[in-house]
């Protein structure tokens, strides 16, 4: 039986993309899998009694070494801010390509804590900073220094000791360009080194609390229980900076979604599923309930989604335990069709992720297909005709063409780059200034505009001639030819509409990172947790693959 890939016009709607969850394809999980047999070391740990100073952690295999350099600094409480406009942080980090010399460390000591206004070199691969969750951090230090483990209720509510507020890579602020590292065997998936940085930062946070507690009370202090360490991740505050990325990298977005869709298709096409795989799926699903019930947020939009998810997942478990016969042919196809009929988008995508758990043989080969050689698809095939382009747009953007962009509510917002931090922002076109400097992120509107010009042009005209007159539409002509080859390259929604929820775009990207517990703080930024429940570095060579659900 052949199952068709799901329709991009359904899957690429923002409400659906904003319901995606982490899976075995997620970058933090594929990072752990790739680096599980690398040698982990803490090379330097030079902190004072308050936890300020430098530390270095590394992963090594044969001749290749990646070193995380940490700079922990003193800042006053009123300087601590998660906003991108902040200029000081509790700690700043860079991932160095190789073993840093003392001259490198001195150079980086002056640059890394400055973050966006510092200058990095091609030897540095990623850059980040993080702030303490003060209430948790102080409580943990206090407890450990008094010989007690911290209050688990408090820890569970927050889930981390530090949260990052940005992780940069790919040439930002002088960091190494991606072309320098992309052919390395271990870099066979997106954001691998960003994931490494966050993972090593997590270990630094544990070492730092242990160190401060020990120096505070050398006789009584104990270490944070490794089981508690495992239950903590790294938080992250994410704003709109992330949203344009998925619009600006269409072939990459396609490859992420296409891999997910291919995995689902292959799983649905399995005629007979072995019992151990069925058991693993059911166990992961049952255990995952804890992830939903421990998902804390005060955001009404998200709370509604969580409640709906919980009741739908329970309904699914009941169906699978009491009504479904796994010996039926193509069981996962039957389950998927049932989900489509009986549950919500959030639940469908949640269970699609869990379906992947037993199928390493399907998932693993696809991980290396999630990157993209974007340059290859940049040139416009200008010898093609107007008719060709009309056909592509009608086929690939059916719902976009139905939108009336003469209505105010459909062009309500615009995307721009802020002058003070050079970060993407989103604003009301009719109330704020600056729409003349709009970024080219209103793809739906511009595609419709292109279509309207195409249908009054001569069908046989070639694109090079069309572009003489319509140079202003060149960016969407390029996109239309890209989407012809990459059906999941485009968000099938209007990203400037009044009712758009920008955090859906963030949620999509973060789910591929492997983030858990999305906690929207408005419609424009959210907090998440990464690596919560993940194995500690010493456990990497033999860890539970389903840690996300079993921790």
């Amino acid at each position: 039986m052949e199952v068709k890939l799901r329709d991009p016009n359904v899957i690429m709607k923002l409400s659906r993309l904003g319901s995606f969850h982490q899976s075995k394809l997620s970058f933090l999980r594929s990072f752990l899998e790739e680096f599980k047999d690398w040698e982990y070391k803490r090379d330097l740990f030079d902190l004072d009694e308050n936890g300020f100073g430098n530390a270095i952690y590394s992963f090594k295999k044969k001749e290749r070494v990646y070193s995380l350099i940490c700079f922990a600094n003193k800042i006053s409480d009123d300087e601590r801010s998660d906003r991108v406009i902040a200029t000081k942080w509790d700690a700043a980090f860079t991932l160095y390509d190789g073993v840093p010399s003392s001259a490198d460390i001195e150079r980086l000591k002056n640059e890394v804590p400055k973050q966006e206004v510092g200058r990095l070199s091609y030897k540095e691969l990623t850059l980040s900073r993080a702030n303490k969750s003060l209430r948790v951090f102080n409580h943990v230090v206090e407890s450990l220094s008094n010989g007690k483990q911290p209050d688990l209720n408090l820890l569970n509510k927050v889930g981390y000791l530090y949260r990052t507020t940005a992780v940069y890579g790919s040439g930002k602020f002088g960091l190494a360009d991606r072309f320098r590292i992309k052919n390395r065997e271990e870099i066979n998936g997106p954001f691998r080194l960003e994931m490494m940085l966050v993972y090593l930062v997590r270990q630094f946070t544990f070492d730092q609390v242990n160190h401060i507690a020990k120096l505070k009370n050398p006789k009584l202090a104990i270490k944070l229980d490794p089981k508690i360490c495992k239950s903590l991740g790294i938080g992250n505050s994410t704003g709109l900076g992330m949203a344009p990325f998925i619009v600006n990298h269409p072939t990459l977005l396609n490859n992420w979604i296409l891999c997910r869709e291919k995995v689902l298709k292959k799983i649905r096409e399995i005629k007979k599923v072995e019992n151990d795989k069925i058991d693993l799926f059911k166990k992961s699903l049952r255990n995952s309930i804890k992830n939903i019930t421990s998902w804390n947020t005060e955001n009404k939009y998200q709370l509604k989604k969580i409640n709906s998810l919980l009741s739908n997942v329970k309904k699914t478990i009941n169906f699978l335990e009491n009504k479904f016969n796994f010996s039926t042919e193509y069981p996962f196809n039957e389950i998927y069709l049932w989900l489509e009929q009986e549950t919500c988008d959030e639940c469908i995508e949640y269970i699609v992720s869990i379906m992947m758990e037993p199928f390493d043989e399907i998932v693993k080969p696809l991980v290396s297909e999630m990157s993209s050689e974007e340059e290859k698809y940049f040139s416009i095939p200008t010898h093609r005709t107007i008719k060709d382009l009309i056909n592509i747009i009608e086929k690939r953007y059916p719902d976009i063409l139905k939108i009336n962009f003469n209505k105010k509510e459909n062009i309500k917002n615009f995307w721009f780059i802020s002058k003070n931090k050079e970060e993407p922002r989103y604003s009301d076109r009719f109330e704020e200034q600056g729409s003349a400097l709009e970024q080219p992120l209103a793809i739906a509107r511009d595609i419709k505009k292109l279509y309207e010009e195409l249908i009054v042009s001569k069908n046989s005209l070639t694109i090079d001639k069309f572009l003489f007159k319509y140079s202003n539409l060149r960016h969407v002509v390029r996109r239309a030819f890209i989407i012809e080859k990459f059906p999941y390259a485009e968000i099938q929604d209007n990203t400037i509409a009044e009712d758009v929820v920008p955090i859906d775009m963030l949620r999509l990207k973060l789910s591929f990172f492997g983030a858990l517990k999305f906690d929207p703080r408005s419609d424009k930024w959210l907090r998440i947790c990464m690596f919560q429940g993940a194995p500690l570095p010493e456990e990497l060579n033999n860890y539970d693959q389903q840690w996300v659900y079993n921790s």
Binding site: K172, F173, I463
Partner: protein
């Protein structure tokens, strides 16, 4: 040192600010990145061109012919480059394209380089005394890497080089003969067991 990613992004934004569309600005960003990757003065030339653009008039050459003469204002290298890239499949039927007056000719180079990849032919580019060989967007060969390029050029030639051997038949035969010394003579019994042996091909 600025990364290529920073160079591309900044060039793209600056081009938009200089009045080009986003689509063209994306092409300029990629072009300047390519120049800098090859150690050519992309940022400097783009910056100088944009400065002069605010004071002087430049001609947009949208439809390229075999011989292009601008008697009044110099051609804009960006619009010429984009037009060349877009029309290269039509233009390759000409052996040679000539121009008489183009500003900042170095900025045309990345468009020609990408064009070379599109048509699968090497392109020779000459402005005044500066010569370049563009090799399928993989390499750019030039004798001059002085970092100083003219702000305009009067004698510009672009030649499409046919795909042909770069060596004589005699050189090839000689080399091939030497390579044969790595081959082993097959015995009759081995020949009988090779693929297709012993079967009729008319089955």
């Amino acid at each position: 040192m600025r990364s290529l990613s920073e160079i591309e992004t900044t060039s793209k934004r600056a081009s938009k600010a200089a009045g080009y569309s986003w689509g063209i600005s994306e092409e300029v960003g990629k072009g300047v990145r390519l120049l800098e990757l090859f150690g050519l003065a992309g940022v400097k030339n783009l910056n100088e061109y944009f400065k002069s653009k605010s004071k002087k008039q430049f001609e947009n050459l949208n439809l390229i012919n075999e011989d292009n003469q601008s008697n009044k204002n110099p051609y804009c290298p960006i619009i010429f480059g984009i037009s060349f890239l877009d029309q290269v499949k039509t233009l390759e039927k000409f052996y040679k394209i000539k121009l008489n007056n183009i500003a900042y000719p170095l900025l045309v180079l990345p468009f020609l380089s990408r064009s070379s990849e599109i048509i699968g032919k090497k392109i020779y580019y000459k402005f005044d005394e500066n010569e370049f060989l563009l090799n399928f967007n993989v390499k750019i060969f030039s004798k001059i890497f002085s970092g100083k390029y003219p702000i305009s050029a009067n004698n510009v030639e672009i030649i499409f080089l046919e795909n042909k051997d770069n060596f004589s038949e005699e050189d090839w035969k000689s080399l091939y003969k030497l390579s044969e010394e790595t081959f082993v003579e097959e015995s009759d019994s081995l020949k009988k067991g090779a693929a297709g042996a012993g079967l009729t091909d008319n089955d």
